[in-house]
Amino acid sequence: MPSPRRHLLTAAAAWAVLSVVSVALVAGIQILPEIASREAQVEDAAFVLLTAAAMPVLMFVLVGLAYSALRFRAGDDDDEDGPPIHGHGGVQAVWLGVSSLLVLGLFGYGAVGLLEIRGSEPADYVVEVVAEQWAWHFIYPDGTETKELHVPVDRRVRLDITSDDAIHSLWIPAFGIKQDAVQGRTTYASMTVTQPGTYGGMCAELCGLGHTGMTVTVVAQSMADLEAWLHDQPPVPE
């Protein structure tokens, strides 16, 4: 039977190798399927960092379980007890210290990301969003109302969102925004779209029978194209 120290070193080596390999596999990949805004970039970076930070933790417990299952398994007719270890002050202190530091680090990183996404940077362009069961309405600065959402690229865009009935939630995955629409309140989501193109959006909060089908087409284009498009829209019927 190897010494306790030997067990510890073998398992630690397995953990170190698996952690390095898994972190290397995770680092540098893109996790979000589509990134078309600054916000989505911040979120994707957060995904990668959290996943990389999770790997050593995951491997620590899995290696501990697997190693114990393989090496500390008692024989069928063995009815002896293990050593009477009730605890270990050093191990407990290190565990508490490391897990607290890890958590504080992740919190700090998250707080920075949060400020980048929802900081108080003023908006260049504001679109009002009104949700109802089960449709979206978009109202532009010139008063035009549409069912498709068009936004300018490379501008700070704010959506002021409200609802006429149930709670809805406007989710545009490529832009990295999701914000509930609430009756009696105006909520907001800001974004800076970097990639022109046509994207999908949808309602993310269960809002009744038509929830599944409550989707929307979203177009990001230059300011000039957006203004031309708005000009071509029929006036809102009285």
Binding site: A69, R73, L106, G113, Q183, G208
Partner: protein
Amino acid sequence: MMRPSLLRALIGAVLGFAIGGGSLVLLGGGEMGPGQILGLGYLLALLGFLLGIGAFRFWWAWIAGGEVDPADEHAAHGAAGDWRRYLRFTTDHKVIGIQYLVTAFVLFLVAGLAAMFMRFELAQPGIQVNKDFYNTVMSTHGAMMITVALVSIIGGLGNFLVPLMIGTRDMAFPKANALSYWLLPLALLMVAINPLLGGFDSGWTAYPPLSQQANLGQQAYLMAFITIGVSSILSAINFLVTVFRMRAPGMTLFRMPIFVWAMTVTASLVLIATSVVAAAFTMLLFDRLLGTGFFRPSRGGDVILFQHLFWFYSHPAVYIMAVPGLGAILEIVPVFARKPLFAYPLAVASFIGIGVLSFMVWAHHMFVSGMADAFHIPIMFTTEVISVPTGIVFLSALGTIWLGRIRFATPMLFVFGFLAAFLVGGITGVYLADVPTDIVLSDTYFVVAHFHYTIVGGTIYGLFAGTYYWFPKLTGRMYSEGLGRLHFWWFSLAFHATFLPMFWLGIEGMRRRVADYPAEMGAVNLFVSFAALNIGLAVAVFVVNMVRSWRRGPATVANPWRAQTLEWQLASPPPVDNFEHQPTVSATPYQYGSAAAPSPGHPAP
């Protein structure tokens, strides 16, 4: 006078409903809607049911100034070997424990069938059955499984084991204990029949305004959950008084089995938090029935207020579900690793830490709700900090198995399965605590995967581990080890195959609570549905094992696992009055590997 019985309780319920509903129909002059009629009808039906089952007869005798019939009181405690005691108002905590456990497993199967229907609808893109019915089934599945997670370990294993583990005859308030159980059947019936009342499509979270618009089934759910809340609060008071007032001599707080600590922390959370959600649901009922406007913006109410009240209970509730599972796991680990529980005082401190912090994290469910931005940072902080005490459970478990002499009986397999699954649940929780990633993941299948990893990983694995481990104590018979292993491996493979892909589906943009999804997600969803079917089949193996072993399993000895907690020092199953002699306790029940007495808590000779 007819003896109190289930039949009389059912007659009482029907009469109560007829009187309550009927009086509104007759006296309401056509003003009363079905909601009001159902409301008063249910209230009086519940009262009639409890009168019929005999829940109030002892208290009534006392109030009326008469004597409580000692023969009746003794009979209510239940005679050993008489199966009818399980269908009566029986005050023996062991009977109540088994009533809770069996009820919870029946509910688990019904809610599991609902999940099978959901995976059938989701097996292919497009609508297979019906969108509206899907929403009702999804809401019912959630409501029922939440109840399973809330009552199975606490009400089932907790009731059976806590008095035994602390060396006492019964709970502090045996009649209130029986009342907590008998509040449940009618409430659960209401949840089960909600599709006949038009169902409800708000999910178990019941957010207004959707829940203000929804059918009568919504009201059935709200009334049922308030009832379950009352039952939980009664039971929590009972546990706390029992633990703090009735421990055997020498059983100091820090010699209590870790499972008893878990129940104590859980009962404190139940006591503090439950009234908040009961209040929120009552306000919602008033909005629906009495024309108030608590959550109606058009009348000065506020929609988001409901979410704050709801999650102020429902996040602690996640720990109300998980901590008993953690306690069961940590109770089992030392027995099968043959080593003392590692860092027992720190594990106790971590349960208390989880309990305190659990009240400060609720708003992480609301990062995209429109609540004040300034609130995001402190809630993100507390939510990430709670992973430190939760992580201590892994330290204790890993520290115990390390250098142990491990026996892989079925309970220990479930301990390992628990640690793997709950770990994934914990790690993925960090993505939901971090606001930038949560904005992407909120309301997606990632959330569905995460909470199934925590609640199945935390509660249901703990429940399975505990049910196998204590099965010989509960029944006096041994389960089939072969079927137990088959259940473990089949269940675990199917569980991971079902829920791991859901993380990916969520990131790819599949929303939760939808009956349909983009066609390109079809293949993965078909795989998930197939895996989910296997969860159902694996659970069927468990049911067969339990039913067969309970009826015909080989008789077992008092302490087949050579465990050191007090319940194993009694016969299996324990005698009606538990301890013939008052036990005394001189150490924690984790003295494995020491030359000292094999069990530190002997019933004194």
